[in-house]
């Protein structure tokens, strides 16, 4: 087993993705580990859901391969547990018995795929590729959003007020009248906002405002 990265914050999306395997059967864990390593994928295996939850997860694109029949906590219950803990990781289920109700439940709860043992290796690899890609996209989105949040946090209360009005399409003069400051002061605030938010243009700033979900406090009609 490979060593784990010490901190998740320092890692970026460019880092190597990792496949997590949770199966109570040791030979199955080993076989899966073997298969993923043979195609150059990083893999980490766990004997139980508990073991997986105890470990510190690296902040990289990843997916989880889960045997639906796990001792104590079943695969489906484990899936629910992860959702409750807000751990959004794509899950691929494996089962010895093609149980339709179970499949339906798993897929409804957001499973990426459902494979019956024994499965074709290519089916498993395809499912893993899809899952990791899905995770990479959602991680990228999350990272962009958290950057925005961080930058938005550096704005003063007055600047946030001005940014909401600017992105709502108000002219400097209107803004000045609305919040009772000089037009020149509005211009200075705008300059600070553009710099702090690293916005290249007004449309760029408007997109950022949309992602942050901010609007004018007193939402007047847009002209």
């Amino acid at each position: 087993m490979t060593g784990r990265p010490a901190s998740r914050d320092t890692l970026t999306s460019a880092e190597e993705p990792v496949v997590f395997v949770v199966d109570d059967d040791a030979s199955m864990r080993e076989a899966l580990s073997n298969l993923f390593r043979s195609v150059g994928l990083r893999v980490e295996v766990f004997g139980s859901a508990h073991e997986f939850l105890q470990s510190t997860l690296p902040n990289v694109a990843s997916c989880l391969i889960l045997d639906i029949r796990l001792p104590r906590l079943s695969g489906l219950d484990f899936q629910a547990e992860l959702a409750k803990a807000d751990i959004r990781i794509p899950i691929i289920f494996m089962t010895g018995h093609g149980d339709i109700p179970m499949t339906v439940r798993a897929m409804k709860a957001g499973a990426v795929d459902f494979l019956t043992k024994p499965f074709r290796d290519q089916d498993m690899l395809d499912a893993v590729t899809t899952a990791i890609e899905r995770d990479r996209v959602s991680r990228d989105e999350a990272r962009v959003l958290s950057g925005l949040h961080a930058r938005f946090a550096t704005l003063t209360p007055r600047e946030r007020e001005v940014m909401a009005l600017v992105t709502a399409g108000r002219m400097n003069k209107q803004i000045a009248a609305e919040i009772g400051i000089a037009e020149i002061t509005v211009k200075i605030h705008r300059g600070h906002i553009m710099r702090k938010m690293t916005a290249k243009s007004l449309p760029d700033l408007v997109r950022m405002a949309e992602m942050l979900g901010i609007g004018p406090a007193a939402g007047g009609p847009q002209t």
């Binding site: 199955m28 080993e30 076989a31 298969l35």
Partner: protein, 586 residues
């Protein structure tokens, strides 16, 4: 009054006689006087003649008087006698009348005399007293007074009927009501007569039958309860009369046998209703019971006219004291529903046993499948990984070798699972020395119904005095049951020949115990012969294909051998051997 008048007449008679006698004495004295005063006058013959005539007439009168007196006395005596007799008769009549009156008044029968309008003309004291009235309270009243409102119409019409048929006696039973409101049942005999004065009257004599009515009602009610109880319990009663051999049935017995109700039935008719297959047996039982005078009990079937079959159970008890005129009494119960329930229960049990077996087998199979599937999936995944290691540029032989080692381990693990299942099967057996014929008979009791419902005739050819075998009773039963059920199913399509299943036990040339089960069914197709005992091989639409496979593993585990062969005629024979049990080996 009348005798007194007669006496007066007699007296007047007497005074007339005296008066006549007196006047005659006076006339004689007068003649004598004339004769003495005037002296004899012989010269006067006319005068003399007158005197003579006078004397003669006097004498004649005297004689007449005496005659009349005698006659009168005779007559008087006759009259007196007659009066005495009359007096006597009157007294006797009076006595008789008093006596009859006494009878009328106090005879314990209520007498009423009513007119055409129903007004009470006369009633005896007893009658009035019985109804709580005095005679005077009823006289002149409408007779309807003593009837309850709901019976008044009947009473009126009864009287009317009597009036229409004068002189004829009618009788009826009716309810009356006493003065205090209590009711009584009476039986009335009545007849209308025309009186001397031409008036139509109705004479009614009535007798209190309340007790009898109560007893009748009680009896009727008891009979009704009994009939109801018989109907509810589907049990009828019967008895046989001494001598005539007539059979008396209760209503329910008639219903059970489907005969119309009659006072009695003949045994021959009853026997006709009994199912032909049971008739001889029933006759034998009855004959034996009649000779031995013993109680008997038997179950048999009735074949009804509509072709349906009823199952009945009869018990009879001989009556020691034949003074009642009954030889024996018995009860017959319609147990068709119970039999039906038994059959259904048996079917349900068989189905349940089958389902349980299949379920248990299914669960075991699922569990085995899971156990084997795990290493199998690992093998497949490892093999795929191994190929990828080898396909690398350059091939990673170290990883490929490690992967192949894993594959060997996984393969061995799958083998171990199978070993464990085998061990499990052997561990649960409970082997004891037992007689194979007993086991066969036990199975037969289980499949009796199955054989019957599929119209399969069973022939048992069990060798006596076979040595015991060491085996698990339940497992052996399972094997035989499986072979028998297979045989029955194999003959399901057979229509052109009798379906026969033969089970034989014998000791073969190697002195092993041999059990064969032969049917005349579809037989075994040559291409299937060697696959018969494979797991999951089946020619049946509803089978799992585990039966013969399990049978073979059981027989194998017992150190025997199960094989199948086609018969020279139609059908197939399955046979298995079992080694003998040796005392020293236990």
């Amino acid at each position: 009054m009348l005798p007194m008048m007669r006496n007066q007449t007699l007296k007047s008679w007497r005074s007339a006689e005296q008066w006549l006698l007196g006047s005659m004495v006076l006339a004689l004295a007068m003649a004598a006087f004339i004769w003495l005063v005037l002296g004899p006058a012989p010269a006067a013959p006319a005068y003399l003649t007158a005197v003579v005539l006078l004397i003669a007439s006097l004498l004649a009168s005297l004689i007449m008087m005496l005659r009349v007196g005698t006659t009168r006395r005779q007559m008087e005596a006759v009259l007196h006698g007659r009066a005495r007799a009359e007096q006597h008769a009157i007294e006797a009549l009076r006595y008789s009348e008093a006596q009859w009156k006494e009878v009328f008044e106090h005879n314990p029968v209520m007498y009423f005399m009513v007119d055409a309008a129903g007004t009470v003309l006369s009633v005896n004291t007893f009658g009035a007293a019985q109804l709580g009235y005095s005679v005077s309270e009823l006289l002149g009243q409408s007779v309807l007074k003593v009837f309850p409102a709901e019976e008044q119409r009947a009473a009126q019409s009864n009287v009317a009927i009597c009036l229409e048929n004068i002189g004829q006696t009618h009788s009826w039973e009716i309810r009356k009501v006493r003065k205090d409101g209590s009711a009584l049942w009476v039986r009335e005999n009545a007849k209308a007569v025309r009186r001397v004065d031409n008036q139509l009257i109705v004479l009614i004599a009535c007798e209190d039958i309340t007790e009898r009515k109560d007893a009748e009602n009680a009896l009727r009610q008891s009979e009704m309860y009994q009939a109801e109880a018989q109907r509810l319990s589907h049990t009828g009663s019967f008895g046989r009369r001494v001598g005539s051999g007539e059979i008396i049935w209760s209503e329910e017995t008639f219903r059970i046998f489907g005969f119309d109700k009659a006072p009695s039935v003949q045994l021959a008719a009853v026997m006709q209703r009994i199912h032909p297959d049971d008739r001889a047996r029933v006759q034998r039982t009855i004959d034996r019971a009649s000779i031995d005078e013993k109680d008997f009990e038997l179950g048999y079937r009735l074949l009804m006219p509509d072709g349906s079959v009823k199952h009945v159970h009869a018990t009879a008890h001989t009556v020691a004291d034949a003074s009642s005129g009954i030889e024996f009494v018995g009860a017959v119960t319609d147990v068709t529903a119970r039999k039906q329930a038994e059959v259904e229960l048996h079917e349900a049990q068989t189905n349940l046993a089958h389902v349980t077996r299949v379920t248990a087998l299914g669960e075991m199979a699922a569990s085995i499948a899971h156990e084997v599937n795990q290493p199998l999936a690992a093998v497949v995944t490892n093999a795929a990984a191994c190929l990828r290691w080898l396909d690398r540029e350059p091939a990673n032989l170290k990883e490929a070798r490690g992967t192949l080692r894993s594959i060997i381990n996984d393969g061995n693990r799958a083998g171990e699972v199978i070993q464990r299942v085998r061990a499990l099967v052997n561990k649960t057996t409970d082997r004891k020395a037992l007689h194979i014929n007993e086991v066969v008979n036990e199975v037969m009791s289980l499949v009796h119904h199955e054989l019957f419902s599929h119209r399969v005739a069973l022939r048992l050819d069990l060798a006596p005095a076979l040595p015991p075998v060491l085996a698990d009773r339940i497992q052996l039963q399972q094997v035989i049951l499986n072979l028998v059920v297979n045989g029955i199913e194999a003959m399901q399509q057979v229509k052109d020949r009798p379906r026969e299943l033969v089970i034989r036990t014998l000791q073969d040339e190697t002195s092993q115990v041999l059990v064969t089960v032969s049917d005349v069914g579809v037989g075994v197709a040559a291409e299937n012969a060697d696959r018969l005992f494979d797991a999951f091989f089946t020619t049946k639409s509803s089978g799992m294909g585990m039966g013969l496979s399990i049978c073979r593993s059981i027989v194998d585990a017992h150190g025997g051998r199960l094989s199948a062969s086609g018969n020279t005629g139609p059908g197939a024979t399955f046979q298995f051997t079992l080694p003998l049990h040796r005392e020293d080996s236990t």
